[in-house]
Assembly symmetry: C2
Homo-oligomer: 318 residues x 2
């Protein structure tokens, strides 16, 4: 018999979670959370792993105490702030996550949004429908432009490489200069010195106490009036009211946001009213291929834990 | 005094034609067509060049006969089917166009549209506005996919290079195999053999008698059901009713069109009703940078003709 795992409730309306379930069922007997809740005692003693998906099921001390054979909490996400890692580890249960596999998809979302803003894709689709096909409505060219990347981690580097395919020049701001980069990129220790030189600026850094709301009005003032600003990090890295003001005053040409603060951004929010702002619902990692890779990595972590391997592919020790 | 040129009417509502006019005025006394029409006889004997923009002014035999000092018709476009080249050349007037400079912009538009379709950018922007931020709405990943390019000319090659920056595998169909490519790409003499292997298919070939409506229903049937089809060539290369049928039957996942037949596509056209179809108003070359490059090349051609240089940068001999 296959080992039993507990994971989130699969939604039958979504084809994709079925794809995930099939992947899990190659290795495990899968107990979705809704089924588990009907009779926890039927499953508790057999469950060897919990795989939270969008932070569900919530893993608490009582749940772990009910599961004598639990080996691992293997979250299907890069982030793990929804888990009490010290508590779980104190009970001799391992914790793993799925970092790395979403780099490509998230960097791709950055390019997608910068191009959509630059080439007027959304307003263009709207105009076309109304038979308004002006020949002199000009976009901005991404190819050959200067792209400023704030935060040169793995996603930033992927974004840089994709941009280089368009002949772009890369500048970046980071806590420290990267001496290990396999691309040409100009480092700016001082963000204020980089911004006036960029045609596109993309925020990719993690949200930390240092980066919280660190992009302010003065930064938008420093950018070119023709520049396009993109955020694929977290909404909290940007002083959102300052961005709104900069857009309204046309300090920058456009903004394209995969992330806002809060999410969802309420219907009535004035950013939606800005014609020079594109907002999409935080889909950086939302591709079938990436989400499937996340599930597969979470599965590998569980299999390694069951085998008592010393090193998991991605273990969280925090 | 600067030499006099005749060009199209500048639209004061458009910032960009002013940019073009400024560029022209560095070298010439510029007569816009509306001003010319008020009193042609004032200008005819001084005009050394006509620079049509979007096929205006129309150059006919009578116009040329009225201009004894005319040296060149320098159209600000790659295409020149709006000019009667043999007639103009028979009067010892040179003809030039602006090829090449729009390659980057047009290839970029192909990537823009494939990404927007793949990552649900347009529907995403609409959903976000309605506070509908689903986490499980999945896109298709362009990075690492297989891209099939129909027509491996200069624009096709630029599209291939940009795609390679995303780690894509390139396949192409062309009249003949290109042995001069500086990229890795798999050639298919037979389009039908290539289509089932591609995740993205982009039409980039010129519209000729051979390529008119050559993409038909059977081709869409051959593509993967998950595939995304993009057209940045001319609407006339595709049997549009067949594309509509394929989209309605979900033979392919999505289409993204920079070009349609006719243009504008009438408001009532059923393609606009397809949720899996993105249409923008033929903006392949519509970036400030590219249009300015076109104007600058047209100017260089005129200056070379005035100097009686033997070879212009881009002369049309047809």
């Amino acid at each position: 018999m296959l080992p039993k795992i507990l994971t989130h409730t699969f939604d039958n309306d979504e084809a994709l979670p079925d794809l995930f379930k099939n992947e899990m069922e190659k290795h495990f007997q899968v107990i979705p959370y809704d089924e588990y809740l009907k009779s926890p005692e039927t499953h508790d003693k057999d469950i060897v792993a919990i795989l939270p998906w969008f932070a569900t099921p919530k893993v608490d001390s009582e749940m772990i105490d009910r599961m004598p054979n639990l080996k691992i909490v293997s979250t299907i996400s890069a982030g793990y702030n929804h888990l009490n890692v010290p508590m779980i580890r104190s009970k001799n249960i391992r914790v793993s996550n799925t970092p790395g596999v979403l780099n490509e998809s998230t960097a791709e979302q950055g390019i997608t949004l910068m191009l959509a803003a630059a080439r007027n894709t959304i307003i263009g689709a709207e105009m076309a429908k109304n038979e308004d096909w002006p020949k002199n409505f000009m976009g901005t060219q991404f190819s050959g432009s200067t792209v400023g990347i704030i935060g040169m981690g793995r996603i930033g580097l992927s974004l840089a490489k994709k941009s280089i395919g368009f002949g772009c020049k890369i500048m970046y701001n980071n806590r420290r200069e990267r001496t290990d980069l396999d691309i040409e990129a100009e480092y700016f220790a001082n963000l204020d010195e980089m911004l006036p030189k960029c045609d596109f600026v993309c925020v990719v850094c993690a949200l930390t106490s240092e980066t919280a709301q660190f992009i302010k009005y003065k930064h938008f003032k420093l950018m070119k009036k023709t520049s396009i600003f993109c955020n694929i990090s977290r909404g909290g890295t940007v002083q959102q009211d300052d961005l709104l003001k900069a857009l309204e005053e046309k300090e920058i040409h456009m903004a394209a946001l995969d992330v806002t603060s809060p999410e969802p951004l309420p219907k009535c929010h004035p950013l939606y009213q800005c014609k020079n702002c594109i907002i999409v619902p935080h889909w950086g990692s939302a591709t079938t291929q990436t989400r499937l890779s996340m599930v597969q990595l979470a599965i590998r972590n569980v299999l390694q834990a069951i085998n008592n391997e010393k090193e998991l592919e991605s273990e969280v020790f925090e």
